[in-house]
Amino acid sequence: MQSSQTPSRANLAGWLYVSPLVLVLVPFFVAPILVVLAASFFATDGFGGLTPGFTFSNYVEVLHSALTLKLYLATIKFTVLTWIFTLIIGFFVAYFLVFHVRNQLLAIGLFLLCTVPFWTSNIIRMISWIPLLGKEGLINQALLATGAVHQPLEVLLFSDLAVVIAYVHQLTIFMIVPIFNSMARIDKKLIEAAIDAGASRFDIMRLIVVPMSKSGIALGTIFVVSIVMGDFFVVKVMSGGGSASVVSAFYEDVGVLQYPTAAASAVLLTLVLVAIVSLILRTVDIRQEITR
């Protein structure tokens, strides 16, 4: 049946197979996005009532507010810091597992060890930092005991530092998995050839491993950037209310029923995200990467 199929029949079969997927994504992804887009042009009475209409005033309000700039700067700061730390840790953890662990079963076991927390609750993993970072937490107790500080450090919990720690804790796995995947595909012979040709281990890293892990890095970056930019609960809890990001402000707006301004801000954020993701996608064919 394969080769004899006409293109139109193949198209029909393809669509039949993916139709259940489309039937879920259209009402629960496409439609909600369109609703938010529409709401961003609506007027509001300020009590949660929406008046259908077409006004740019919500965007004008969002773009004119000094708060918007501040929120975006804070979000970008968290995103960049998280990205740098997850990339460094993720790259070297994957490198260690692929190139230094000699027993393949052990490598898979250690890899699984890294992935297990991904399947547990993010909120629980976040609050689990409280007994460590708190004012009377383990780290402060240790620092006081060794005499390194005389006052407990207050910046550890409910601060920007705590926010970044929680992000790195949750998201490094999103770097490890795709980078591990790309590295595991590097042909061993290539490295041997490089060694035979007199390359140093640094050269191998610089000229073979890093370029060939690029697609994994790109994929991991998409995950980390989109999750940090779309997050609100880590910022809200770990900063103790001291910091805000674009989505946490969105959450507050929704809380006071300011749907149109919230929607306008969400549309702007989505545009920024789409721009970043499509920039990254230009460097890597994600579909080929996954199906290969």
């Binding site: 393949q104 609750s121 969400a266």
Partner: protein
Amino acid sequence: MSAVLANMQGAVAPATTKAIAPSRGERPWTFYVLASLFALYVLALYGPMICIYILSFQDIRGGLVFPMKGHSLHWFVDLFTQVRTGDVKGSFDRSIRLAVIVTIITVVISFLAGLGFRRRFAGDAVVFYMMIGSLVAPGLVLGLGTGLLFQAFGLNASWYTSALGAQLSWTLPFGVLVMFAVMSRYDRAWDEAAYDLGASRWQTIWLVIVPVLAPGIVAVALFGFTLSYDEFARSLQTAGSLNTLPLEIWSMTLNVTSPSLYALGTVTTIISFIVIGASLGTIVLIQKKRGRGAKD
């Protein structure tokens, strides 16, 4: 995560040794540096979680930080009996039921989509990018959109309608991506062989494709269950008046400052570990059975 399951198959299939470091002799100094980094990473990954599990077993004097004050199951009892901590039992119940429903739908739809994406068809890129979009879109924004949509149609938001759909928009992209990784190891010649032996399309799916891909399908189920069971951002605006467990935990982080919060963390993590263990165990079992079959 898909890599792991692909690799687990590789472990039994013809060995592809990927260790590029010299397989014998002295280890370079970088090995020790990176091994320490890895150990530190794992310590930071599990250390905090282990702290809260330990702290949840304090007695009534217990606080949120070390040192431990006595040992008891007080906070676990407190969790399920106190009104103050909310409807933990009910939300548990709902979350598990919802996760089971989401798992079944995710497995079926991801499997079918995986079959569909094996060959290119007109417009496949549209579906693919729709899926990627659903994966990277901010969950809270999607949740609000879904909530408003239900409102506009005069429907009541509830955990088994709007929250179910909102969670599927999160679990399905993962499920299909895992399916992609699994399908890439499936040789289409096996389909041809089945057709040559007179199998119908359905027989080929049930008797060839499903058994061959069984470990991957278990992996999709693992993603479906755990991602739904822990889903928070998309459920927040869509769950209606009755909370799911992550929503309950969220409201507890804002109000409750006793170790019952940690006790809830311990209980929910135990459930996650049972599910993870059962899934990985099933995959290993299937592989072992196959390894034995091949040897006979």
